[in-house]
Amino acid sequence: MSVATRTINFTLNGAPVSATIAPHHTLLEVVRDTFGLNGARESCGQGLCGCCTLMVNGQSVSGCLSLAAFADGATVTTVENLAVDGKLSPLQTAFIECGAFQCGFCTSGFLLMATELLASNPKPTEGEIRNHLSGNLCRCATYPEVMRAVQLAAERMA
């Protein structure tokens, strides 16, 4: 069966882009395979682990559960957009200083979720951080270090 393709236009990390996609393609696949942005990764494929986190119109979504067609007209940002001119964000720096990862597979998702949290809630309580990150899994179990990194970034950004 021939699959009808369509062209979507959207803003990706600040730049206008277009892509030819089929209705069943996920946004994660397009970001990775079409645009070569490999920071977001598919792990569980069920929206539970957070490794595929992308920002669409300023809100975190699971890229593996998002159809690419719905990105038409949207603003999409990925973890690659956090550093500006090669300078890491305060949160990224805090992750490094606190050792908030081991293998690093989940890190991009944690970074985007925590960036989202701090943007709307600059002084989150420990419970608020835990709640916002509860949908992100780290199989290396660096959760205590992640908590410290988010708190450290919040202090520095205050």
Partner: protein, 301 residues
């Protein structure tokens, strides 16, 4: 830049994707007699079913473009809280109106799935999907919420209790859509929802207990007791509701004999299903304990 899609490959099987701009257009694209044609709200649940090949759509009708019209949260002229069918769970979570008029929903939201899913998942989708493990339908049943449904012949309204008829089954025809949910203003009503998860905190619940108590003059006038997740659909427990009706409120609790009757009712009048979240017998015991905690939580609300 424009890139092709030659490298793309995923687990989903191709389908037709339509994005109607208006409700009548959306209704005209649905089919009463073809289960491979489905409307899609946020799509989080359908995507999971599609990836698992449990659902292989021929046509998906995305309702996203209807969100501006059907995504609102407002009070109607009679004071009922109206949630648009395309309102996201996040918009409920952060709504001042919801907090004022149905704070049980606000309190439940942070434990429901995760932030990313709540950003996308919709009220209408949660109801139409009728997955018994979803929390919102159980809560809305306890609030006697009315579901507004549009179809080719006009609109109709059903209580959530009548909408969800079984395990992933609803009274919706294939060419009907949920346009909104209304929660009537009931003076003196207090409500609580307790979710029990047996693995991760944001796992699907093994049990959900939703309860509302209409209180007046130190008494409970009427009650709703609803068991979810452990059952094939949100299930009211009339014997427990009867035990609560007329009960004298003692601080934030009730007489021990009343609580015993409620415990016995939820244990004996409900069929608890066994699954990966726990055995039926275990969930029955969870329900006995948590129904009393829910009563206390509602009276403190």
């Amino acid at each position: 830049m424009n890139r092709g899609n030659d490298r793309l490959e995923n687990l989903l099987i191709p389908f037709e994707l339509l994005e109607p701009r208006t409700l009548p257009e959306a209704l005209s694209m649905l089919a009463d007699d073809d289960t491979a044609v489905r409307p899609m709200g946020g799509g989080t649940a359908l995507m999971l079913m599609m990836k698992a090949a449990v659902f292989t759509p021929r046509r998906l009708v995305s309702l996203r473009a209807l969100a501006p019209a059907l995504g609102g949260i407002a009070l109607d002229e009679r004071g009922a809280l109206c949630l648009g069918g395309m309102a996201t769970l996040s918009s409920l979570e952060h709504s001042a109106l919801v907090k004022t008029h149905a704070s049980v929903i606000t309190r439940a939201m942070p434990q429901l799935s995760n932030v990313r899913v709540r950003h996308v998942a919709t009220v209408g989708g949660a109801l139409a999907h009728a997955d018994p493990h979803m929390d919102l339908p159980t809560i809305l049943t306890a609030l006697d919420a009315r579901v507004q449904i549009a179809g080719p012949g006009g609109s109709r309204e059903l209580f959530v209790d009548a909408l969800i008829t079984g395990y992933y089954e609803t009274a919706l025809a294939g060419n009907e859509l949920i346009t909104g949910v209304a929660i009537d203003a009931v003076p003196g009503r207090k409500a609580a929802y307790i979710k029990c998860t047996t693995r991760a905190a944001d796992d699907w619940p093994a049990l959900g207990v939703a309860l509302s108590l209409v209180c007046s003059g130190g008494h409970i006038e009427t009650a709703r007791v609803v068991i979810g997740a452990a059952t094939d659909r949100p299930t009211r427990v009339p014997a427990a509701e009867a035990a609560l009706a007329g009960a004298l409120i003692e601080g934030t609790t009730l007489a021990a004999a009343t609580l015993d009757r409620v415990r016995d009712a939820v244990a004996s009048q409900v069929v608890y299903t066994s699954d990966a979240q726990g055995s039926g017998a275990y969930k029955r015991q969870l329900a006995r304990v948590h129904v009393v905690r829910a009563i206390t939580a509602a009276l403190q609300a």
